[in-house]
């Protein structure tokens, strides 16, 4: 009876393995470099302008003297995005619920899905233009206003929320719906008491990601929210936002203003980063459960 023996790995295979590994590591580094550079530059150029005034003062807009801060921009961004979220999230989850619970594989549902996919590809400036034409030029409810900016942003956020929500809702096991139906629950209760609570963590993650996206968009706000510098909480007026503030300041001849623009960019990245971290924490908690 001959003893068993395992063949050794050929040197050619070892070489191939090493080459592949090398190529993949290189690709990773190439991808990471711009990312690292962006953060590096943001920190290098912007950190200097971060100060107490930066957060507590509105931009003065004047050519001489103190430049103020970006308080109105921060608040403005938060407000406009908050309103956009309030519009986009209920509608988006509603559409996703329709697609998974009622439409399923019907022709209409598939058409809806197709359109949603198309919307994710639409350039954000087109949304801005759409709102400009439909709401601004028609002078509905004022001229340039913050809420119109929110509407534009919500159009942007909607397809993201719908797609991520649909994925999450489909992940809810059919057996849970079956169990609830078999107990004698009407369909709407199955949705509100079983499907939504089970999908909740995933839905929140999807919404937060859409919000993070919305915070950073400039183009839709260009022709909708207008550019203001003063702090205002009224959504019926023009409002300042971080992206627009950066857009304005980066071309300024004054170096300190340019520096402030970098700082605003850093703030924006910081806000997006915080939102992403929250999203991850929420999704990890749901996995542990």
């Amino acid at each position: 009876m001959s003893a068993l023996s395992l063949p050794e790995v050929s040197p050619r295979r070892r070489r191939t393995d090493r080459i592949m590994r090398g190529m993949l590591v290189t690709a990773t580094i190439v991808a990471l470099v711009p990312l690292v550079l962006v953060i590096f530059y943001l920190l290098k150029e912007g950190l200097g302008s971060i100060s107490g005034d930066f957060f507590t003062q509105d931009p003065s807009g004047s050519f001489f003297g103190s430049i103020g801060g970006v308080r109105s921009a921060i608040f403005g961004s938060l407000e406009i995005v908050a309103l956009a979220t309030l519009i986009a999230v209920p509608i988006g989850i509603g559409v996703a619920l329709y697609l998974t619970e009622y439409g399923k594989d019907s022709r209409f549902a598939n058409v809806v899905r197709y359109f949603v996919d198309v919307m994710t590809g639409v350039p954000s400036i087109v949304f801005g233009l759409f709102i400009y034409i439909s709401l601004i030029l028609s002078h509905v409810g004022g001229n340039f206003t913050a809420w119109k900016g929110s509407v534009a942003l919500s159009l942007l956020m909607l397809p993201i929320i719908i797609r991520s929500a649909e994925v999450v809702l489909l992940l809810v096991p059919g057996s849970l719906r079956e169990a609830a139906l078999a107990l004698g629950a009407p369909r709407w209760r199955v949705i509100t008491k079983v499907v939504l609570p089970t999908a909740a963590p995933g839905l929140v993650t999807g919404a937060l990601l859409a919000v993070a996206r919305g915070m950073g968009e400039t183009a839709p706000l260009l022709f909708t929210a207008g550019v203001a510098s003063g702090l205002t909480f009224s959504l019926g007026q023009q409002m300042n936002t971080l992206p627009l503030q950066i857009y304005n300041d980066i071309l300024s001849p004054r170096a300190v203003v340019v520096s402030q623009a970098w700082a605003a960019g850093l703030t924006l990245v910081g806000l997006v980063l915080i939102l992403n971290l929250i999203a991850r924490a929420v999704s990890r908690r749901s996995q542990v459960a």
Partner: protein
């Protein structure tokens, strides 16, 4: 349909300390916790035909399910046994493209009558599935209460009904100290008994079981079988099973189905000692797989 209060028994049970003897007593299914004996109601299926799109899965089936008895349905895969059972509580029509024709009567009530409330039918005819499916976002208590809450049943003694249901399935002793913990934290056998408690809490007339022990280990299986034996005192039970020995152990009468038709329906003892149909003999002795 709310059973009379058994307050004196409840009080002694709840006040007893957790000594070894009372733990054992609480581990056995105690159906008297649900109240006095009550006669169940039988189900009569006549001329049932069920389709998945164009596929004719159940062909002209007539079966009588006597009250307060366990009837098992056995047969090879694809014989239509699960479909028949799902037609009884009208879960079959939840599948897109599926439809059923024929008469299914709970006592004299025609379950398919156009004026009948679907959710009411499912409240009277409960179902336990192959894979235990407790609601993951709910605690043990909430899971058992789910049936009552999902159907909008107003219940001022909810706590009592939940405790009773847990006692009835013999789970009380194992979970009484952790009713607030997630339902999914229990073992497979306990989860299945939890699902049975959830079904029983709604106080149906009939309990349908679709291979309830397929996903359980042998000991958990025996516990569920013991429970089924107790449950028939109050309910009419229909159990679909792949495991012939289980049908032999648990059922008063057995139905053998093949290719969507009923081949033989007889007392279990007769099916397993002297079946009348050649096909039943061949299936039961394993002459065809």
């Amino acid at each position: 349909m709310i059973p009379p209060e058994t307050t004196s028994k409840e009080q002694t049970d709840m006040s007893s300390a957790g000594g070894p003897i009372s733990d054992q007593a609480e581990a056995a299914p105690d159906l008297s916790a649900m109240g006095e004996r009550r006669a169940g109601h039988g189900v009569t299926v006549k001329g049932l035909n069920a389709y998945y799109g164009a596929q004719h899965a159940v062909k002209d089936v007539d079966i009588d399910f006597p009250a307060n008895q366990v009837t098992a349905i056995i047969g090879p895969s694809g014989s239509g046994k699960s479909t028949v059972v799902r037609c009884i509580n009208r879960m079959h029509e939840e599948i897109p493209g599926a439809r059923a024709e024929g008469s299914v009567k709970l006592d004299e009530i025609d379950v398919y009558a156009p004026s009948v409330d679907l959710t009411a039918v499912r409240r009277m005819i409960g179902m336990v599935f192959q894979k235990p499916n407790p609601f993951p976002t709910m605690s043990i208590f909430d899971n058992v209460a789910a049936g009552l809450r999902l159907t909008g049943t107003k219940s001022d003694n909810l706590r009592e009904r939940v405790h009773r249901a847990l006692r009835a399935v013999g789970l009380w002793g194992e979970v009484k100290n952790r009713l607030n913990q997630p339902g999914v934290g229990l073992s497979g056998g306990q989860q299945q008994r939890l699902c049975i408690a959830r079904t029983v809490a709604v106080e149906p007339e009939v309990i349908l079981m679709d291979e309830p022990c397929s996903a359980l280990d042998p000991i958990a299986t025996l516990k569920v079988e013991e429970l089924i034996d107790e449950l028939k005192a109050r309910y009419t039970i229909v159990i679909v099973t792949h495991n012939m020995q289980q049908a032999a152990r648990v059922a008063n009468s057995t139905v053998f189905m093949l290719d969507g038709e009923v081949v033989e329906h007889a007392p279990t003892n007769d099916i397993f000692t002297n079946p009348k149909d050649e096909r039943t003999e061949r299936y039961v002795t394993g002459k065809f797989g």
